[in-house]
């Protein structure tokens, strides 16, 4: 029998995630009774101060919720406000939005793979340390990340908090030559993306399985990025979908004492958004080259319904998504003809609008209520991490319980296990907070054989 006295473990700050969080584990004997991911980012009150602003302002303002995925905030805000005003944009503008979003996907997924996640698989503390033994790979990751940033800089003005997005489209449409100038860098990026797929496919993956309902947007003809219908896949293989306007009817948020991020449930169940969910729900609509990448990554053939439920393997799906996003960017860049007008007019209209898009980390839903003159009277933002928090906690509970049942690890090992498991999900805690202190509260429990 092994059991330890009551003790508390503090591990200061979860690293290599966007934001700060804390984790509190309660262990009684060798049973984990509680795993709380505590998000205590200082509240910034976006939803409160959006009230009273003009309907033209949320795309710039909400970008500041997250420096890692500002385009996602800009796109969900535009989608929701245009929905309220009954406006839809031209296909050229839709393509340009998708292109800007591809830039964010490439940058963000490369950041996650190379700077945040890969060091776990190779036993390093950071990409900088990793560069001592894997210089060429880290340089490749930075090059790939830069290709995403270049795209955002040309089309959006800058990579963080782009300035060119407005309701109805863009302040200025790029000239043909401006976008074409990106072709060479994107072609190089496609090679780098393929090399990334092959590199991460060689990593060793622990066994793990999530039963969470997988929720992602789905589009009829394409892998959903900037629009789509919320579609879910349950653990028993059954599917469902619902209109974006029903989002808050289905995804219910509640406020728990240990977090400044709200917790949510889909129809009362834990759910997960992000790469695993997108691949499960929309994988069959990936481009042929991305399907090939998925097969080569060992994920199976998404056209035949391949689904990945091992959170450690999310790095593979991210790599495949970079192949897809680079291919999409090249397709749009090469077909681009500047539109006559860079935006459509969006006259104000009283009403409620809903918008959801696929941030690199999962579905980002916005809802705005507008007065007749366009003043925002109410705003609601539901970021992916708030949705994923419950499923992440469940994951942690199961993993730590398994470790405790197997071999009763020490606090240091438990911490490493939890940090690694959390990084699998790429939580962007700045949507909500920062800081991971791990607290393990151990109390003597029943005897174990």
């Amino acid at each position: 029998m092994t059991h330890r006295g009551s003790r508390v473990l503090h591990v200061s700050s979860l690293s290599r995630v966007e934001g700060e969080g804390a984790l509190r584990l309660r262990v009684e004997g060798r049973t984990v009774t509680e795993a709380h991911l505590e998000i205590y980012e200082p509240p910034r009150f976006f939803e409160a101060f959006l009230r009273g602003r003009s309907y033209t302002e949320p795309p710039d303002i909400t970008a500041r919720v997250c420096g890692i995925c500002p385009v996602a905030y800009q796109m969900s805000a535009c989608a929701a406000i245009e929905d309220a005003c009954g406006v839809s944009v031209d296909p050229v503008i839709r393509d340009l939005r998708r292109l800007l979003y591809c830039g964010e996907w490439i940058e963000s997924q490369a950041l996650h793979i190379y700077l945040l996640h890969a060091p776990d698989f190779l036993g390093r503390a950071s990409a900088i340390e990793l560069a001592r033994t894997h210089r060429a790979e880290v340089e490749r990751g930075l090059r790939l990340k830069k290709a995403g940033n270049s795209l955002m800089e040309v089309l959006g003005g800058r990579a963080i908090h782009p300035v060119n997005v407005r309701l109805g489209g863009f302040h200025r449409a790029p000239a043909r030559g401006e976008l074409r100038s990106l072709s060479e860098e994107l072609k190089r990026a496609l090679d780098d993306a393929w090399a990334t797929v092959r590199w991460v496919a060689g990593f060793e993956f622990p066994d793990a399985h999530t039963d969470a309902v997988l929720l992602a947007l789905a589009s009829p003809d394409t892998y959903a990025i900037e629009s789509g219908t919320p579609t879910l896949l349950r653990a028993d293989g059954t599917c469902g979908s619902f209109p974006v306007r029903d989002f808050t009817e289905r995804v219910r948020e509640s406020h728990v004492p240990h977090s400044t991020a709200l917790h949510s449930r889909l129809d009362g169940h834990l759910h997960l958004t992000g790469s695993l969910a997108r691949f499960a729900v929309g994988g069959r609509r990936l481009s042929p080259v991305a399907v090939q990448a998925a097969i080569e990554a060992g994920l199976g053939d998404p056209r035949e319904g391949a689904v990945c439920r091992n959170p450690y393997r999310s790095i593979l799906v991210r790599a495949v998504e970079i192949v897809y996003a680079v291919g999409e960017a090249l397709r749009i860049v090469e077909a681009y003809e500047p539109p006559e007008r860079s935006f459509v007019e969006v006259p104000p209209l009283a009403g409620i609008g809903h918008g959801a898009t696929e941030a690199p980390r999962g579905i980002l839903y916005h809802r705005y209520e507008l007065a007749p003159d366009g003043t925002v009277t109410d705003a609601l933002l539901v970021p992916p991490t708030a949705q994923n928090q419950g499923a992440i906690e469940h994951d942690l509970l199961r993993l730590t319980q398994r470790a405790l049942t197997d071999h009763d690890p020490g606090d240091e090992e438990l911490t490493a296990l939890c940090e690694r498991a959390i990084r699998n999900h790429d939580p962007c805690i700045s949507c909500s907070t920062h800081f991971l202190d791990l607290t393990v509260v151990r109390t003597p429990g029943g005897s174990h054989a």
């Binding site: 200061s12 700050s13 979860l14 690293s15 290599r16 995630v17 966007e18 934001g19 700060e20 200082p42 509240p43 910034r44 009150f45 976006f46 939803e47 409160a48 101060f49 009230r51 602003r53 003009s54 710039d60 303002i61 500041r64 919720v65 997250c66 420096g67 890692i68 500002p70 950041l111 700077l115 060091p119 503390a125 950071s126 990409a127 900088i128 560069a131 210089r135 880290v138 340089e139 930075l142 090059r143 990340k145 830069k146 940033n149 800058r158 963080i160 908090h161 300035v163 060119n164 407005r166 302040h171 200025r172 509640s254 406020h255 728990v256 004492p257 400044t260 709200l262 700045s430 920062h434």
Partner: protein
């Protein structure tokens, strides 16, 4: 001699300014060869205790805990540089400074009693001595590299404090106010972004905060002439550097 140590800390913010460091894709590995990154949670799980030769701080002070924390960070830092509009001016979250924060809490949270927050969002310099403030929402990558290399070399950073108008002229961008009557904060906003917004045919919205020598009262009638009513002028000034522009107005 061992390499100087670099630390990066985050308070209330969006992560964008510290991401700017990771966005220096071409320089990151060279920079990492010249310094020892001793504390940078976003990038590394290896964390060393201070003292640090150069500390970069992103984010504003919005909780009693962070007001304490910044004192500890200051004590552990030889040079403390704040980066971004949140750290240098309170950021967008300083909009609470002009509102009832208890009401904000009730609007956003079902259980406002779970939320601990200050009634204000203040810059780091309101709490501790700061050696240099780098402006921007977000900061500019080239300016960040200039500031880091300047501090490591023991010289003063070469970061101008003239207005965005200078950058429009340098870039050859036609003045959006003169040519199109577009409301623009360029004349009163500090340079650093490269005059991005006018180059994308929109008015500057003040990401870098008030520049060194501004005449805000002279600009306001121009904004009114270009179609902004009183509320719109106030909103225009109340974005990412609301507290700094407000102070500028009150002192002018």
């Amino acid at each position: 001699m061992s390499a100087p140590t670099l630390a990066v800390f985050k308070l209330a913010s969006c992560d964008g300014c510290q991401l700017t460091l990771l966005d220096c894709e071409d320089e990151l590995l060279a920079l990492a060869g010249g310094v020892r990154i001793a504390h940078f949670l976003e990038a590394s799980s290896a964390v060393e205790p201070g003292p640090y030769d150069l500390t970069l701080v992103e984010g504003s002070i919005t909780t009693p805990e962070d007001a304490e924390r910044i004192r500890a960070i200051r004590a552990a830092s030889r040079h403390l540089v704040t980066i971004g509009a949140c750290a240098t001016a309170g950021g967008i979250q300083a909009l609470r400074n002009f509102a009832d924060v208890d009401e904000f809490r009730r609007v956003v949270y079902a259980h406002p009693e779970y939320i601990s927050t200050l009634a204000t969002s203040t810059p780091v310099s309101a709490h501790v001595d700061v050696d240099f403030e780098l402006r921007g929402c977000p900061i500019d990558r080239r300016q960040l590299l200039e500031v880091i290399t300047a501090f490591l070399a023991g010289r003063k950073p070469d970061v101008p404090n003239h207005s965005v108008c200078f950058e429009c002229k340098q870039r050859g961008t036609v003045c959006v106010t003169v040519a199109h009557g577009t409301p623009c904060l360029g004349p009163v906003t500090q340079a650093g972004c490269g005059a991005l917004c006018p180059a994308y045919r929109r008015g500057c919205f003040g990401c870098f905060g008030p520049s060194g020598s501004v005449n805000l009262p002279a600009l306001i009638p121009l904004l009114r002439r270009d179609g902004l009513d009183e509320d719109a002028v106030e909103r225009f000034l109340h974005t990412f550097n609301a507290a700094a522009f407000d102070e500028e107005l009150r002192s002018s």
